[in-house]
Symmetry: C3
Subunit: 262 residues, 3 copies
């Protein structure tokens, strides 16, 4: 029987005891769990960044995987801990938007995590990753029924994380969703919404530059030239071959991106 | 049967082959081991930081867990490799203080690791993590009796890592033990030693600031205000809601912290 | 039966979804795989750095380990994906030199990975780590015969990564192969090629300094003094006890290192 997979996505970094504490709690309850780090380098308190990463990463994991996402500036406040089930996988985190792109997929069931029997006690006011989210994930991994963890809710928080607005018949305004480690700018334009992009001339305006080429691979373009590409996440990316686009343009997450199709 | 857990805490960083070499050695001897990284981002040679992290992290792991801690500026010198057993767990590292907070718990048995049969040969002068600590941990994970690894000792090194001194009837002097990834300052004042803090007025002086409020959660305080909180590690922390306290105050590990209770 | 080990070495960093996607793909195909991170902090596109790290790390892993190495500036171009088998282990990566030091060991069999049935579809143009290398490694872990993955080739790319040139009867010119996390400079001089170094006087010239001492451990030298040592990787290293040599000398990867033996 395969081991239950539990993934972790946090803004805890890796220098402190935080992540290891969560893993110790999980392995104490579910010794058979296979723990996989997605990342602990979400920028501190950056909910949108975490929402994007878990949406992407989870797509490659098998059904039954349990994803724990803890970016939680409101820890200790009234924000609810939730469980979202979507596509056969489970997602656990605070109800602050980190699971927003999962909720946007539709066909979810969402529960508020209220059954304190499945928490680690005493529950601290500052570390729900260890005291609430990790133990609940571990109990789920051991086969605890979701219905035991709390009641269904219908008002989980869904921020407008990845929207594109149409501004005229042939123009749209989006934004930079995330900047990857290579400096590539992932924009909010999705391939499925613009399947024919590149069939006619277009402009992408970002920072002080205008991008007019759509390439099919990095290697097909000269080093140092700016171009667009459909990235592996299914979004339009503004990139350079072996260059750091974010540094070159001086733009980051949230920067506006304007698309005009001729 | 659950797999034996071996955790790793080092100052090796993650860019080199060092950590992977240790994991390869462990899995070659104990293919069934479950290896968990606590952190490899201890500041280079910072024994006190490692001592704090492993003390905290180990509390969440189940009995029988084997913790390897390698922060070892004296590698190749006469400092002894040791095994400390405490609370049903095993701790392996150099006898230079990294296991000091474990030893401070009392009720430990400590052995010097002298049985070279359990080392990887030839033993290099510069990488005992791979050649001494990893293989000994792996043999322990496969069920080797601790008594085979070396003789009991009673003089393991216990530096004064987390002491608080009383300076008058109502004042104490402590220090910053560690700075976490969010910039929160963890001080050496322990909750169990000051259970009534906050019942009457108090001052905490640190850097050029005086802190007079004790909060129960980050979210209960306005952004940008400095306050004290009992952290998830059981120590008094000086923090800001969504701000970096260490940068704000310009203080770091070892900075004095003065407590006055009125 | 021990679980099949799959190691990962990339320049993807740890903040994005890239590494987790590869792990999800592997666990979807080979739920029993034991995934070990070697490092994801290879400098972006630095093939020589990756070649050195996997050569070192792999030496500590058991036979049958499968190593995936993805540093791939030419992703989407015509460069071939390859499988190298050496010493009972398998190495998977692009044919761009990242496996050069494995190929230099001799006694390898090398195959071009052409059987698209073992890829993840659709194969993106920008993320072969997820779509080609991870699934092929996973199928290998489940017992797929290498001969099914593609045909033998004899012309895999072997760059001159770690060469030393003799410049006169008693002098040689090498280079800095890598800089470790402590700032130690690993040079291309191998212990097996200079077994008697230190028996007579010698000079190592690097940057504006000349090193004349060969020590057997860091701890045997005073802090702040520059010296040479045979490192744990079997190469001559230029180091300081508890100091950062790379910063002190202002040199990095590729810097020339001249050895003169009197």
């Amino acid at each position: 029987m395969p081991r239950p997979i539990v993934t972790l996505t946090t803004d805890f970094g890796e220098k402190d005891y935080f992540v290891a504490s969560m893993k110790g709690v999980i392995l104490s309850i579910a010794p058979n769990a296979e723990i996989v780090d997605v990342t602990h380098q979400i920028s501190a308190f950056e909910i949108a960044e975490a929402a994007f990463v878990i949406d992407q990463a989870s797509r490659c994991f098998p059904k039954k995987t349990i994803h724990v996402v803890v970016v939680d500036p409101g820890v200790g406040s009234a924000r609810r801990p939730i469980l979202v089930q979507s596509g056969g996988q489970s997602f656990i985190g605070p109800d602050n938007g980190v699971l927003g792109m999962i909720l946007d997929r539709g066909k979810c069931t969402t529960r508020e995590l209220t059954t304190e029997r499945y928490f680690r006690h005493p529950v601290s006011q500052t570390f729900h990753g260890r005291d609430v989210f990790a133990p609940v994930a571990a109990y789920l991994a051991t086969g605890t029924a979701p219905s035991r963890l709390g009641k269904l809710i219908r008002d989980a928080f869904r921020p407008a994380l990845s929207r594109v607005q149409q501004t005229s018949k042939r123009s749209w305004c989006g934004a930079v969703l995330t900047v990857d480690r290579f400096g590539n700018l992932v924009t909010s334009f999705r391939r499925e919404d613009f399947p024919t992009l590149g069939d006619s001339a277009f402009d992408v305006k970002i920072g002080f530059e205008t991008v007019i080429q759509l390439a099919t691979s990095y290697a097909s373009m000269p080093c140092g030239e700016l171009f667009a590409i459909w990235g592996s996440a299914g979004y339009l990316e503004i990139v350079m071959n072996q260059g750091n686009t974010a540094k070159h343009l001086g733009v980051g997450v949230g920067a506006p991106v304007d698309l005009l199709v001729y």
